[in-house]
Amino acid sequence: MIPKEIPFQGSLVLGLDCSGESFSVAVVRQGQALAERGGYSPRSHLRRLFPDLKGCLEEIGASFKEVGAVAVTVGPGSFTGLRLGVVTARTIAQVTGCALVGVNTLEALAQAHWGCPCLLAGLDARRGEIFAAFFDTSSGQLRRLAPDAAYTPQQLVERAQELNCRLAVGSGPWRYRQELGAVPDLLLAPLQDAQVRAAQVGVLGEEAWRAGRSVDYLHLEPRYLRSAEVQLGHK
């Protein structure tokens, strides 16, 4: 049994994701998830996020004092969800003084699928678009093949064909699975793998933190990939 006096000493990393219709929170340490909570809750992210985060810490007998860094998905994703995650992570960093790391949502999605020479990670962006990016995960490192961008289903099919894409993950490909059927030899990850996991966010965040890539709480911004005017139809 681990004696209670051995504390986590600021080694815990919190992972947060509210970028889609599911949300999740996790506590990570040395690349391992110690606790994770969340689920499909398109209308209750705000209600559940903080209590579940606190619940994760309590579950492992820890408190915010032992948190060394907080990692949050900064986009792409649902604008309201991204803002909720970002403002919560910023405030934790501001109050506790812990480090803060922004994690790309599509990278967090792709990170769960090693060994694929061309992987498509995409989120349903509504308005008939998908926020997507392509990665090579075959070397055990996440290598980007294309930057984050908004695609129509047709554009995505064409790009996936060009890149000889083998695997598609996330809520975007899942929604447009019929269209993506036109891409030869493309496997679609099942629905249970279509959501970002906070444990992945925490693991990526921990690496970035250890590599000195944390940011000041005043400088963590969401990546919207769409202007407010476009969102409103003003332009």
């Binding site: 915010f64 803002r83 403002v87 919560t88």
Partner: protein, 346 residues
Amino acid sequence: MYIAHPPFKPRYILGLESSCDETSVAILADGERVLANLISSQIPLHSRYGGVVPEVACRAHLEVLNPLLAEALERAQIGFHDLEAVAVTCGPGLVGAVLLGVAVAKTLAGTLDIPLIGVNHMEGHLFSALLEDRCLPLPLLCLLVSGGHTLLCLVERWGEYRVLGSTRDDAAGEAFDKVSKALGLGYPGGPKIQELAQKGDPQAVRFSRPMLNEGFDFSFSGLKTAVLLHLQSPQRVSDPDLCASFQEAVVDVLATKALRAARQFGVKSLALAGGVAANKALRQRLAAGAQRLNLPFVCPQLDLCTDNAVMIAKAGWELASRGWVSPLTLDAKPNLELARSPEAGA
């Protein structure tokens, strides 16, 4: 929205307000001394659209919330760990905007281990009257008028409200905004119309007073339409005369109903609050009416009429001192109504 908690009086309480187009953070000491009151207004951002654009508002709130928090503590010369409670607007308002304030408040309460108090935005306006006079005799009749609401509210005990009447269509402030837009004066309409009205004749056009002698509900949509129709008519008066006549009609309806309710319910005091409470004609009319009825009358100072976090901190302090505290599962409630059943509290 509330859970049982022993009543307590926080020495330092932080207030957060982000329900519409102002982001505000305030710190109140002992429930009465304002140590910080920071307001970041988005008016210039929205004026090009002629009204508040939700996505633009939410992005702007996110930008300023954390910096304002840091600045408020600095102004108050205290640290996070000195805070003993945090109060936040949890509705009504733009859901994506309210959500941001609530998320910050929960995180503060949860990491600092201090109580969280969710406040109805309109209740905040109501409590701002207590900043003027701590011992207002009850029952109190409060006229709450803003861009989104027009409410006549009877307060028999603080924390419990009876809404006697509200608007059936446009809020009073909304009518000001729409008339202002039609005249090409811009947003927000209240101050612009008031300014022109000062140079005009309030009797130039005799606009009808909707539902003047009927119950306590309001309707301003017809009046707004009458003004818009007048703009097309060959007998069109000058803009100052038009503004003065329109303002006179709005003030007349609001004041007449408020004073009638005050008499009918035998209240002991009268208050005016909300953004439209900044209108001088309305303040004067109600003050004169209250004097005739021999009632004490309060109205927040001008800078506390528009949305601000001082009123939220004040309301939070008053609620905490009566044992009303919120759980960390507090949600944003875009359509939250001003009513509370007495048995829900501690």
